[in-house]
Symmetry: C2
Subunit: 202 residues, 2 copies
DNA sequence: GTCTATAAGGTGATAGAC
DNA sequence: GTCTATCACCTTATAGAC
């Protein structure tokens, strides 16, 4: 068994990750996390003191996984077109594995905006090579005059939003799980082509 | 005072709308709703029996306001380009007035998918004139070959997602409230131009 | 219809044995 | 470190006076 090698703390952490991402801070129950981890409820307090502190650790880990992986990517030495392609592939893959992640994060950001400011400061998208490449492209005339933030938001909207609205999209378009995968394959291609075409042809 | 004309039931409903949209089902407190309405807590049960039933009514109203207004618009006798413009303007205006609405709705849709199926059935986007116009356009060669659902998702993503991610966007791009408004003005124009250009030029 | 008081059950947290 | 037992508080919901 793989589980035998995991420490109790790890078991709790993984269980908490699952339950909090599914139910949120207010909706999650310590008992449910304990059951999910297969251990006693008082162990949660032994290792993490309180629900609030446990949640905070889960959120920080989730948020770093969500935002932290993107900055190194934006700093790679490749063209801005390739970079757009990579960001799209990166987020689509991440969210296919973890579809509850966006809603979980955006809920908490709304409820406790302070919590994440330090992380955002450590991962400033604004100072990346990608932004510089866009600005240079605009100055040289190869890219349409547009705020770099709008480009970032366009990419994120196109890929992240479908996961936020997944239940609605699945129902309205009558998609099963396989259909969903091919819907997202189309989506990736459309977002990339549409954005690059818009940026280049003006 | 305008409030004098409102019945107790209306006062409760409006207070519940505000509190539930802000905190969600699990996070909201009946006491908080009562305080917000300026009435006694037992009145909530007198008029709506239970928290769950009160929430359901709030959600149904919110969801209908979100989805119900769009179908008539999609059936208007105007060109598909004008229709895209109108949808964007419609949602942007709705969400500027009600920025918590999308997160509220998508949370509940995730937790209780059954609740909204009947409403979605009553508001089938698939049977609208807009979808027919797109399909006809594709057949006649004036529109790029693309699934109509992808067009709908592209519009919604571009406009709705920024409100879901608002705290993050505001921080990363250092936007105050005025900046946000002009950011969304740009956003509307970009989404519309980008999509229509993509659909027409291929 | 509206209020006060209180019931009934759940939930986070801790004490203490092992 | 892990468990059982239990506390203290909170929250929904109801009973009953007015």
């Amino acid at each position: 068994m793989v589980d035998d090698k995991k420490t109790t703390e790890e078991l709790i952490f993984e269980a908490a990750l699952k339950v909090f991402q599914k139910k949120g801070l207010a909706g999650a129950r310590m008992q449910e996390i304990a059951d999910e981890a297969g251990i006693n409820k008082s162990m949660l307090h032994y290792y993490f003191r309180s629900k609030e502190l446990l949640f905070r650790q889960i959120f920080l880990k989730s948020f770093k996984g969500f935002i932290g992986s993107i900055v190194p990517l934006l700093n790679q030495e490749i063209s801005w077109e390739e970079k757009i392609h990579l960001i799209i592939e990166h987020y689509a893959a991440l969210l296919q594995r973890n579809p509850d992640l966006p809603l979980f994060i955006f809920n908490e950001l709304k409820n406790n905006p302070e919590d994440f400011i330090s992380i955002l400061k450590e991962n400033s998208v604004r100072d990346t090579l990608f932004i510089k490449q866009i600005i240079t492209g605009i100055q040289k005339g190869g890219i349409r005059r547009i705020s770099p933030q709008q480009i970032i938001v366009t990419i994120n909207s196109g890929i992240i939003f479908p996961f936020v609205a997944m239940p609605m999209i699945k129902f309205m378009a009558s998609l099963n799980d396989t259909d969903w995968d091919s819907f997202m394959e189309d989506r990736k291609r459309i977002v990339e082509e549409m954005l690059i075409k818009y940026l280049k042809e003006f």
